[in-house]
Symmetry: C2
Subunit: 577 residues, 2 copies
Amino acid sequence: MRYSKLFGKTTKTVSNDIKMTSHKLLVQAGFIRESTAGRYFMLPLGIRVQQKIMAIIKEEMDKAGAQEMITPVLHPLELWKETNRNNAAGFELMKITDRRGADFALGGTAEEMFVDVVRKFPLSYKDLPFNVYQFSQKFRDELRARGGLLRVREFMMKDAYSFDLDEENFKKEYEKMWKTYKKIFQRLGYETKVVESDNGYIGGEYCHEFVVENENGETKFLETEDGSYCAHEEVAKFQLENINLDEEEKPFTIIDQPEWVHTMEDNFKHYGKPAQFFLKNVVSRNFQGDIVIATIRGDLEINPIKLQHVLHEVIPLQPATEEDLAAIGSKTGYVHSWGHKMQTKRKAKTEERDCKVIYVADLSLKTVRNFVGGQKEEITDSTNVNYDRDFKHEIEGDIALAKEGYTAINGQKLIAKKGIEVGNIFQLGYHYSHLMSGATFTDQDGSQKPYYMGCYGIGIGRNLQTIIEMHHDEKGIIWPQAVAPYQVHLVELRSKDSDSNKADEIYQKLQEAGVEVLYDDRNDISAGQKFADADLIGCPVRLVVSSRNGDKIEWKKRDGKEIELIEFEKVVERLLI
Amino acid sequence: MRYSKLFGKTTKTVSNDIKMTSHKLLVQAGFIRESTAGRYFMLPLGIRVQQKIMAIIKEEMDKAGAQEMITPVLHPLELWKETNRNNAAGFELMKITDRRGADFALGGTAEEMFVDVVRKFPLSYKDLPFNVYQFSQKFRDELRARGGLLRVREFMMKDAYSFDLDEENFKKEYEKMWKTYKKIFQRLGYETKVVESDNGYIGGEYCHEFVVENENGETKFLETEDGSYCAHEEVAKFQLENINLDEEEKPFTIIDQPEWVHTMEDNFKHYGKPAQFFLKNVVSRNFQGDIVIATIRGDLEINPIKLQHVLHEVIPLQPATEEDLAAIGSKTGYVHSWGHKMQTKRKAKTEERDCKVIYVADLSLKTVRNFVGGQKEEITDSTNVNYDRDFKHEIEGDIALAKEGYTAINGQKLIAKKGIEVGNIFQLGYHYSHLMSGATFTDQDGSQKPYYMGCYGIGIGRNLQTIIEMHHDEKGIIWPQAVAPYQVHLVELRSKDSDSNKADEIYQKLQEAGVEVLYDDRNDISAGQKFADADLIGCPVRLVVSSRNGDKIEWKKRDGKEIELIEFEKVVERLLI
């Protein structure tokens, strides 16, 4: 490709809103441009990298026996209704109606569509197992797009769906995909951690994220030193230590408090006790409008995802507003760990009933005797409060957020890490085949059985940018060879009075030899600018043809410092290794 | 690929709604399945063909110097407003609003998007020309989907956009794309006619469709025997012969008519004259609600596309209803060729005015003296009516439909033909660069100039099905080698007591030799069924491994009859030619 005619050249000015280096480099070097927030044009350089990433994924998926196909982007909304996901994923699902009144969802993930096409065929046990995948444009109505290609509203994704006879067979497929993913990411240029994670609205019982450790990533996870436990912050478990269970239970007492005692910190100061001896309440509102009061040991924090799961809510909880607090006759700082009821009548959003107050107790409440707090009023509070004796909630569970330093379930200390999620795999089990009618195969005995499913996703743009995040220096991108837009960046340096076309010849010959070349043939650009552009764009090898060097060509690797003068034949030889 | 594990096997039952052979074969052979009307799953066999078609297109586009990139599927609606296309294309444009209230169109064609990304870069004359293209999913809210992949609501399309300094340079690009398209379609297995056509809502001054002649196609076009004139029915021109201009003009007269004279045929009978001596009126309604009366010579028909263009309407006209006729004080069969005015007041749809009656005269009215008709009442009509003398309309133009047998502008007779449109190329000129601000480049003299554009489309699924329409027999598909899903269909015939794995070995060896093989390894299927499936699926070569044949392999080409027994080495040799 002649750089003079390339659409999408380098630029010096980049919006101040762009914070992440990899995002900045993508824009500066001419790989992407934003259309509207979270929707990107892939420019000619960008699409070359995208296609190489897709080819690697395809190669590994095919090797693992998966079969490529493709589903429409517009999914009949009735399919999402079959699995109740039109509400669960409602917050990021885009819906559209055609001119004949048919409703569709813009595909964000395609479990229903794949089950729908599979159930169009009469399947026998002999047809199983199989794994089908597609590369297709996905849509997520994200509230905030950010980090360039890391969190977008529209993106190319490889999503695969496996269909197995039973759990045992599925586990082999899951392991195969696990290994396939590891290999794909290695070929893309990075090692990944496999992190237990939350399945969001996908369904199923367990799933894993593949995460590249990186300070700028938005995935927070916790790992033990030996790596034998590794889990996303949203699901990470830890061991609760008993604080003072040997202490005797003292009588429940309402005590006076100075007026200045409001916050947790005020309490620590006033009572001279550390956080774990206090009761803490966190108030949220669920989709129906019920008020959820989660009570936890004062030194711990609520994990909203765990709380959501304990409540079997499909839609994330929202933090309570002052209005919500008023509705239970309370206000910030004065929420009780028991006893609140709705004071203002409120209708549930979609159910035929009134809203209610739901209390949830974290298991940590069972590790302390004689809590302070729980019934805060203007100048009084309760003390010597004991869970099970003075209050008890129907709903109990692990709703605590794990943190660095806590003890993991394997006995080691948790270490907090950050990274970029580059792929994920989900066990779906019978979730979809139970919800969707006709999602069965004929077994050996002639009976109809639901198939056991899994699904497996990789976002392409996300990986494209992660490669840069992991491979760059202060001058620009350093593409790993496997995904570089071109293998060679050929620079012509021509003295003003020369009309030599030596670089043109080299360009021609390299192409004939099957080398991908980006050829900077511009004649009104300084050598310095050409070199800066080559470093910014980041092709693995830079070749310079200059009248000063006679028949030899300057060879420099993007990730090295050494400059060599070598013969053309030697150049080709090195490139075709 | 082992057929036993292939997702998407052959089927015998196909819906009666499927009429076209190519459509039927796609379903029967397991290449596609319908999701909802006009939206298709591409099954593993189908996507392989689709990818081969795309690879051929990509190769030829790249050879012609075009650069691949990609735009988002959701286009900001404000871009379509910049070019007034949100109304023009309104009838098939799907619109969606995200949860933050931003409006988008689902891309059906991407002129605005490409201009939008191009104008993000400061372009100089040195950057031009360039041609950028994408493969992306397109959406059209078609009222009726039909013919399988021929008319769908969602499809993969290659769309290219060229940016040139001026018309002269553009013409070279247009010619280059013309040749590139010819070559692409030859590689896909068919010859194409290049047909002058209407640009619909794309804009610009001229365009051409590439059409594969086929009786089942929905494109009607007219061609002269030597092929020097070839145009879509919608735009085809023809020479008007003067009928009786040597006749003297007689005095305009209102004459009595028997009550039974209503239709054109009644008139021919009553007056004993052929159709061309009568005035014919066709009534339509435009987008605003105005009534359009088009008057034409009785032997000709109105071409609604030509009529639309003469009126500069962007949205197609609709046939008038009885209500429309009543609004001008008329009814079916009693429309006058002059003089109607609105009797019922009606507001224009989007403009601040009342609706009106618009008369349009076809040029054929100037070829006849002393017309019969034009002022039909219950038992009277006018006769000896002369255009220009007795009535004349402000709007005159060629609004007549060309037909077989008419004389083309090159003097030869037009022949009516049918075909399938497989691609099209459009001159856009300055249409978009004038309407969209900042769509300019800096010329040598430092001034800002709009670029001169063209666009070029190929629908992939449409071509996929056309290949089958052109290459099949009563047994199934006959894929041309260049686009076959697999080169070889390997059939294993195993006697019941044999546990030979010879076919497995051949399968393995063929793959190692780089041959694409579909391997029918099913062990509970008869030889007859396996052969029928092989013929239906249509891979170019069928190989049979059978214990009866010893070490030799049965070779049969799908498009031939001869069966040969040859050595494995010979098989590989033939396949790798």
